[in-house]
């Protein structure tokens, strides 16, 4: 795989993003949804912030409060044995769990795809009970002239996936929870008809605690809001690199052989890499081919070290000029850019033809 990493990587870092409040600091900007809109590349950034804390023995968590219509701060003492800080993302207490950061979505625009103008305020921020711990990991699918954004919403009731839509990237309309807990990595196929009828498909990633499974499933919908006919699509492969969990990542795109989906997988080594799979064009619940090796792995310092190291994770790419132009979160801290020749991806899938 001849991977080209931008020499400007990371192309967006926390210091490039203005905090949403003067008492917050940005600790991560990563996992961005991607779209071409008018003559620009649009990124919908996941911006993770935490309240600035002057007390070295305290941790502050930001939680959206519906009654107040704003994020309020909660204090947790590092000296209290009840508070478990062993996972850097969580504050685990006996009967409740909080996040150490709260995320929102921020717009960035670029003419060249590398240098981005980042808006000063959130495009979509937590605004209801379901989003009280923040919103994360957007994916953008262009369907019939509307941009649909799936995103993860976190709250004490669980991790859900929600839908919003926009035509102009100025105003966004919310459509509620489309996948109930625990569900992440929802990716809409950018097409509204399958087999001659109006129908939508989505990849999603439910969790089975009983069977310890985190697989990719596929579902169908008549309206993008309500989803059913859930089927398991792709499971971790014990004999391969992605033994522990998998999830949809980029929005799939059409090639001659079907839909090319770039997904993420995690192995026993706890590294997040990207993999490739081809789904049937008209029956996307059928896997045509799956690459045996990752197509992209953490390698450079900004990928191996950070808030959560050894992670490359994409929520979107552009397929242009026979290349996959991948925007990816590295180490849950920064946004980077890489290009992969689609021909190399085909070879990893043992596909002879080209797109």
């Amino acid at each position: 795989m001849s991977v080209f990493r931008s020499p400007q990587n990371p192309i967006i870092e926390p210091k490039d993003v203005k905090p949403s409040r003067s008492d917050f600091e940005v600790i991560g900007v990563f996992n961005a949804g991607v779209a071409r809109f008018e003559d620009k590349v649009i990124l919908l950034l996941r911006v993770a912030e935490r309240p600035i804390c002057a007390h070295p023995d305290m941790v502050l968590a930001g939680v959206y409060d519906v009654a107040q219509g704003d994020i309020v701060l909660k204090e947790f003492s590092k000296n209290e044995p009840e508070n478990d800080f062993s996972d850097p993302r969580l504050i685990i207490r006996p009967t409740e769990t909080y996040l150490t950061s709260i995320s929102h979505l921020r717009l960035a625009r670029s003419a060249d795809g590398i240098n981005f103008d980042i808006e000063d305020t959130p495009a979509i921020g937590p605004a209801n009970d379901i989003e009280s711990f923040g919103i994360e990991d957007p994916r953008i699918s262009l369907i019939d002239g509307t941009y649909y954004v799936t995103y993860v919403a976190v709250c004490p009731s669980g991790v859900t996936s929600c839908l919003a839509s926009t035509k102009d990237f100025k105003s966004f309309q919310r459509h509620g929870v489309i996948f109930c807990p625990e569900n992440k990595d929802v990716v809409l196929f950018p097409e509204s008809a399958f087999g001659g009828t109006r129908k939508y498909y989505a990849l999603h990633r439910p969790v089975s605690p009983l069977f310890k499974r985190q697989d990719i499933w596929i579902a169908e919908s008549p309206d993008l809001i309500c989803w059913g006919n859930h089927r398991p699509l792709l499971a971790p492969d014990e004999d391969c690199w992605d033994q522990v969990k998998v999830g949809g990542s980029a929005v799939p795109f059409k090639i001659a052989q079907g839909w090319l989906e770039i997904y993420h997988g995690v192995g026993h080594d706890n590294r997040y890499c990207l993999g490739a799979v081809i789904l049937d064009a008209s029956q996307p619940w059928k896997v045509i081919a799956r690459a045996e090796k990752p197509i992209f792995e953490p390698q450079d310092d900004y990928e191996t070290s950070g808030f959560f190291g050894n992670v490359v994770f994409t929520c979107g790419l552009l397929y242009e000029q026979e290349k996959l132009k991948i925007y990816y979160g590295a180490a849950d801290t920064v946004i980077c850019y890489a290009e992969l020749p689609v021909q190399d991806v085909f070879e990893s899938l043992n596909l002879a033809g080209s797109a």
Copy 2:
């Protein structure tokens, strides 16, 4: 609460049910869906079976195999330290989990509601990959002349909820997975229009391992197959009896004040009891009233002792003659019958009026 328990309890026991195969034994008959059909009371029984095992050091598990079109047997040694049998329902191994029993659904009919004729063969048995570990806990909702059956399907990919339908309780049509892992306790409201438009509602019980939550959610659908607009409805109440988890149980029914839902809850004492809640008639995502105490608790021997003791669990009831005629699984072993005056349930909900 003036509870009447049938003196014939348990009304159905494992010995009353013919095994589906000569090499199986019935170890539980419980958690039955309930309907009135023609002049009979119909129960759709959950029948749990296990392969008869002659070797005291072995445990056999039945698993439906799609290629063979039949249940095949898997052997597990009690002497192998890798096999964890600490939960009587499970065989937990390092990378996989099996069930110690496999369930199917069986029809039973009664003229008097107490003495049932039980069919000799399964009405709905495991028949595909999603159902390979069995099907469980049916609920029956009569909607526009069709009986819709929701049931739990278990397989190595997770615990899902599926839909089937029938008009005659002879042939059943499957409609696939309507709620993806981990989801149980799906109960369809027996109505097809809300607010003047064609719409369906369901209670469901997703699981959030991250936040350790097992709450009742509500979802809506245009067609009973695809579900969205998921909203948390009822959470465990730390100050009450149902502190650990709650789930929908019986199909809700209309009374003057809205929908009366009999749900189940589990407290820190690990007892399964039944609770009562009223939901708004046209906006069923709004809780009008919730009883502070269980309306029905394990008390008699057949409820406190069995395969899984201290459990009363209902999947259905009949609301007739101002009484709740509850069919319930006791100790995950037998089916019992009890009657509760609806007036007593109203009083527990602090409702003055009657239905």
